[in-house]
Amino acid sequence: MQIEITPEPLYPWQRLEAYERQLAQIGKYGATAVFVGTMRDFNEGDDVAAMHLEHYPEMTEKYLRNIADQAMQQWSLLDVMIVHRVGSIQPNETIVLVAAWSAHRADAFDASRHLMELLKSRAPFWKKETLNSGTTRWVEKNTPG
């Protein structure tokens, strides 16, 4: 299991490739479901130039570990990965990567989606956007999935 909050650029496909190379369960997982959230260059009808992601370090990490542990119990999973960016982010950069490995595709699909919904609705991260006009604004709320 890998849970990470990082201020560094995140390359999801490289990350997954590297992670799978050292997965102990080679030959056991038949299904991998992945979600990647990417920063868009628009939001609420405005062009967005940049974003800053604030978080509550200890609580965010604890929360992500908890939901990953719960997912491992709720579904038949072999492994789970959650990586989330914080700090300054540019359009088209990856914000979040969630992956679930299972022997069965329904478990992988259900778990990855459930983790994303919990992350979006309860993990203590906050986005502040800088518009092309130079104005900054806090994103008010996440849309339901």
Partner: protein
């Protein structure tokens, strides 16, 4: 007792500080911690945590607790 209070994101900016060390005489709830720290009514959508776990406003606080207030989360 001593309470470590934290504010995040737009709430931190609106209150003009990221937290406070609060010394109060008696056991209190999270809502009372808010009242001690700010001169404002608590916004309806504020989220609260004690020692890194979500709680409601009437949750009790104890000496040494970390109490956090923050707006709706927008990660992912």
């Amino acid at each position: 007792m001593t309470i470590d209070v934290k504010f995040f994101a737009s709430l931190r900016e609106r209150l003009g500080r990221s937290g406070a060390q609060l010394d109060i005489a008696e056991a209190a709830t999270v809502a009372e911690v808010w009242q001690h720290c700010t001169e404002q009514a608590m916004p309806a959508n504020v989220l609260m945590a004690v020692n890194l776990e979500y709680v409601q406003a009437e949750h009790p606080v104890h000496d040494g607790d970390e109490v956090a207030f923050f707006p709706p989360v927008t990660g992912g």
